[in-house]
């Protein structure tokens, strides 16, 4: 719109300007044409009047002279007859008094009888004589004896005396200069000049610069152009005009200057006055006028144009402003529209989000049902197969194994869903407490060991100089994260692959009270595609490809992991993964250091040997041992270890204790132990370091003379707790198997609610071995009563069966939690053969702290008790 208006304005401005220029140009051209015509007309007018003036002047001069001549004649009285001689003298004296240069009588034949002055000859006597005979006064030209031109004034002689003797007229002569001087024929200030010619073109009075005797010759010689005619044509015209006794006017060019010519006949003569005037004069006058006119034209044009421009400019400005206003209002409208669109988009977004949330929920449900159906199908199917093959023990066992697996998977799934729902409803909070990193790592290692062993994967745990073993954290959640990462690593690493867990520490940017812990879980498994890594932390994300088709999982693990690490604990998770090459997760957490350890971990200054093929582990272990007062040396392989041991043995300075890695490059720890025992006997305790569950090698190890086991990772506390027994027994080997380095729960009072006596006995037996003291409540009612009757703080925890007569576990827990006792919040752990999700959920809802499935897994029970007992 703006452009259109502007274009229209510019176009119309240009048009009007062009029109102006055209009109004024037309005026100018027309006027200049007009001025040429005018010059011509004015010239003719001026010249004719000038010529008339000249001719009148000429006539008056001639008249004066004629009068003089007549008065000369009249002065002589006709009655007084004088003698011819007297008359002549009288005439001469009279003439001289009247300044005539010549005086004479003209005979009928035209011969002049001179009274005085030299003899004159009439140049063209015939017309002169003819006029005189008709008694007319006449002027003519003649020449004197010297050939000079003389003006002849003739009057028919009235005097009888004079007329006698065949005299036709009295003729007086005057020098030509007299006429020319009086007529001022020479160039005046207007550069106009005149001359007089006769009909044949011969000059009567020449202009000063004319050297020829004939004007016609002059014309032929020097005239270039006479108003478009050749000089001859012009002369013809001129002669014709002369014949007709008409005035003639024309213009011609000489030496590139234009002249105006005017020809008129002089009275009383056969002469013609020709007057010239150069155009320059008139031109300059008219041109001045023209120039003035032109200037005026241009000026007025310019003024009009300027006015027009001004008007257009103003109008343009006005239009622009209008446009701007229109533009502004349009912009305002546009802004309003955009705002409206934004609002709409927002609304759409909100709608989309709502729909998305809905869809996500539906997806979640559909995923869930799928994920639940899968293990359920396995359970149902396997049950059917087992039922059909009830007598095929092998088959049934196989089915049961699979069912167990599926059930566990289902349980895991349900736990994850519970976590997710907690996360999504914002109910997941951290239960911060003092946590031993050693215990956490120990815990996850022992949990993952069966899986690692099943897949024959190489599993290593590295602890790099951890100074702050005890930190403030939610151990349950930390465990969950680590187990999730580790079980993923195991899951996605093929049989025989490698899995590394490393724990290292550095200063935290949050200050001295904090420590930054990095946990690295690395495998050389199938890895993840770049695309999948983007969705790694989404709910139900699972790489959808043939490679992971068989791999099972809830698809919630990473989402939960991310929430716990990043959102709840404020840490970071880094993932490095390449398909086919493996995956590495690094979790970084800034954790508050717990108060210094209560116990002083100092051992006697033993000499020890650490044998492991990993130099880093050796160095870190030796450093840890050093910090609890033990001097240690290390060897990287079996042979050098044996050499060192033998050398010391020969010196009689045996190592107090030897730590052997199970898997070594040249010979395994059991072989080394066997050699030591063969060569040196059973004096020195030998502990086997292993990240694996040693159940399967235990017999071999014992046979080879291994004193006990020590579990990787080798924290300071692990080493201390494992080695402490040798202080108490003064270095003597102890037959008990050092399983785990946990807090000692010996003597803790546990109340076990279990309706079945056999189950009670088993539990009592197994947990009693762990040093716990157990009281038996045969049902929930009795359990509540016993607890209520006990002194506050007497029981450290309750292990609660769910299905009991009189009062079940759920109910009992609710009653206990509602008791008005300080210890009503003591740990209650559900123990039941039901591993269904609803049971787990319900037990937690009823206020229980945890849930373990039967058959009883002492390790798990101990772990939970350890965790919950304050």
């Amino acid at each position: 719109m703006k452009n259109k208006t502007t274009r229209f304005l510019i176009t119309s401005l240009a048009g009007v300007a062009l029109l102006c220029v055209c009109v004024f140009a037309f005026f100018a051209i027309h006027m200049s044409g007009k001025s040429a015509t005018t010059i011509n007309e004015v010239g003719t007018l001026y010249m004719s009047s000038m010529s008339q003036q000249t001719s009148i002047h000429f006539e008056s001069i001639i008249n004066i002279q004629m009068n003089q001549l007549e008065s000369l004649i009249n002065a002589i009285p006709s009655e007084a007859v004088h003698s011819d001689r007297e008359l002549r003298e009288e005439l001469i004296s009279q003439a001289k008094a009247r300044d005539f240069a010549y005086l004479g009588f003209c005979g009928q034949d035209g011969k002049l009888d001179m009274l005085y002055g030299s003899q004159l000859t009439i140049t063209d006597p015939d017309p002169f004589l003819l006029s005189l005979r008709d008694r007319e006064e006449k002027v003519a030209i003649g020449t004197n004896a010297e050939g000079e031109k003389v003006i002849l004034l003739g009057t028919p002689s009235p005097h009888p005396a004079v007329s006698g003797g065949g005299c036709a007229a009295l003729v007086a002569g005057l020098p030509v200069t007299y006429i020319s001087d009086h007529l001022s024929l020479e160039e005046n200030e207007e550069r106009a000049y005149s001359f007089i010619i006769r009909k044949d073109g011969s000059f009567v009075i020449r202009s000063s610069d004319a050297y020829r005797n004939n004007y016609f010759e002059r014309v032929r010689a020097i005239y270039e152009d006479v108003n478009g005619m050749t000089p001859d044509q012009y002369l013809e015209e001129l002669s014709a005009a002369m014949e007709r006794n008409e005035d003639y006017s024309n213009e011609f060019t000489v030496r590139e200057e234009r002249y105006h010519l005017y020809c008129t006949r002089l009275p009383r003569s056969e002469w013609y006055l020709i007057t010239f005037m150069p155009y320059g004069t008139m031109d300059s006058i008219v041109r001045n006028f023209s120039a003035e006119w032109g200037t005026l034209t241009v000026l007025s044009g310019a003024v009009i144009l300027a006015a027009l421009l001004l008007v257009f400019y103003k109008y343009y400005g006005l239009t622009r402003q209008q446009l701007r206003e229109v533009e502004e209002s349009r912009a305002a409208a546009e802004a309003a529209r955009l705002e409206a669109e934004d609002a709409q988009r927002e609304a759409e977004n909100a709608q989309w989000e709502a729909e998305h949330a809905n869809r996500a929920k539906s997806e979640f449900l559909s995923n869930m049902s799928h994920d639940i159906r899968t293990p359920m199908n396995a359970i149902v199917g396997m049950t059917a197969i087992a039922t059909a093959n009830i007598d095929d023990k092998q088959q049934v066992q196989n089915c049961l194994k699979k069912i167990t697996m599926s059930s566990k998977h289902l349980l895991g799934l349900i736990n994850d869903v519970l976590d997710m729902s907690k996360i999504e409803s914002g109910k997941m909070t951290l239960n911060m407490d003092q946590v031993s990193l050693q215990e956490v790592v120990d815990g996850i290692v022992s949990i993952c060991q069966p899986q690692v062993r099943a897949k024959r994967q190489q599993f290593d745990v590295f602890i790099h100089d951890i100074s702050a073993e005890n930190v403030i954290c939610d151990s349950v959640r930390l465990n969950q994260v680590l187990i999730n990462l580790l079980s993923n690593a195991i899951k996605f690493t093929p049989d025989g692959g490698e899995i590394h867990v490393a724990l290292y520490e550095e200063d935290s940017p949050r200050g001295e009270d904090y420590v930054r812990i990095h946990v690295q879980v690395k495998d050389n498994g199938i890895g993840m595609s770049k695309e999948f890594q983007k969705h790694l932390f989404d709910s139900f994300a699972r790489e959808d490809s043939a490679r992971v088709h068989r791999t099972e999982g809830t698809g919630l693990g990473m989402a939960i992991t991310k929430f716990i690490v990043v959102d709840a604990m404020g840490g970071t998770i880094d993932v490095k993964s390449r398909q086919g090459q493996g995956t590495e997760f690094i979790i970084t957490l800034d954790l508050e250091k717990a108060a210094a350890m209560e116990e002083d971990m100092i051992l006697p200054s033993w000499d020890m040997l650490v044998v492991d093929d990993d130099r880093q582990l050796c160095e870190s272990t030796v450093a840890s041992l050093g910090s609890i007062g033990v001097k240690a040396e290390w060897a990287l392989d079996g042979n050098s270890a044996l050499r060192m041991i033998n050398r010391r043995h020969r010196r009689g300075d045996d190592y107090h204790i030897i730590l052997l890695d199970w898997k070594l490059p040249d010979m395994d720890g059991i072989a080394i132990a066997r050699r030591i025992r063969e060569e040196q006997g059973n004096d020195v305790p030998i502990l086997l370091i292993s990240a694996y569950d040693w159940g399967e090698i235990e017999r071999d190890a014992k046979d080879a003379g291994i004193t006990g086991f020590i579990a990787k990772p080798l924290f300071r506390s692990t080493l201390f707790n494992s080695l402490r027994q040798f202080v108490e027994t003064d270095g003597e080997a102890e037959e008990t198997v050092q399983t785990e380095a946990r807090r000692d729960l010996t003597g803790r009072q546990i109340l076990l609610a279990e309706d079945n006596e056999l189950n009670w006995e088993i539990a009592s037996e197994l947990l009693g071995q762990e040093g716990l003291k157990l009281d038996w409540a045969e049902n929930g009612q009795i359990c509540v009563e016993m607890l209520a009757a006990s002194p506050v703080g007497y029981y450290d925890a309750v292990l609660m069966d769910i299905r009991m007569p009189v009062m079940g576990g759920y109910e009992a827990t609710q009653v206990i939690r509602s008791l008005e006792r300080e210890d009503k919040d003591l740990p209650i752990i559900a123990m039941t053969a039901d591993a269904f999700a609803e049971d787990v959920k319900r037990s937690l809802e009823c206020g229980m702290n945890a849930h373990v499935a039967k058959p009883i897994d002492v390790r798990e029970v101990m772990r939970l008790l350890d965790k919950f007992i304050k």
């Binding site: 049934v396 049961l400 159940g695 079945n756 056999l758 037996e765 071995q769 007569p805 058959p855």
Partner: protein
């Protein structure tokens, strides 16, 4: 007959039981105690009396005990029966089979233990 053979006869997992209880002495002790466990009688009585809730609890207990002792054959059939009886569910077709299987498996288990008991040192 060794304890291991006893387990094989009843369709149990000796290794598993050993893994849990850690010593043969304990396993033997509890296996023998199984004979005195009243859960089976309770199950039979409850079923006969039509008390499905009590029958469920009894089956559940049998399942728990069998789990602890790795009596896997009886564990499986008792578990199936437990699920059939759970939450006061009305009788389903095939329930009789489940009950009969529990009875059979129980008899087989008890038989194996008795045989072992006779051969075991006092």
């Amino acid at each position: 007959m060794t304890l291991k053979e006893c387990y094989a006869a009843m369709g149990g997992d000796y290794e598993e039981a050993m893994g849990r209880l850690r010593s043969e002495r304990l396993v033997q002790k509890f296996v023998l105690k199984f004979l005195d466990d009243g859960s089976y009688r309770l199950l039979c009585d409850s079923l006969a009396a039509g008390d499905r809730g009590e029958a469920f609890r009894a089956a559940h207990t049998i399942k728990g005990v069998c789990g602890n002792l790795a009596f896997n054959t009886l564990l499986e059939s008792s578990e199936a029966l437990t699920e059939a009886l759970r939450d006061g569910r009305p009788p389903q077709p095939g329930e009789e089979d489940l009950i009969r299987r529990v009875q059979e498996d129980y008899q087989r288990t008890v038989q194996a233990i008795r045989t072992f008991q006779e051969g075991a040192p006092a």
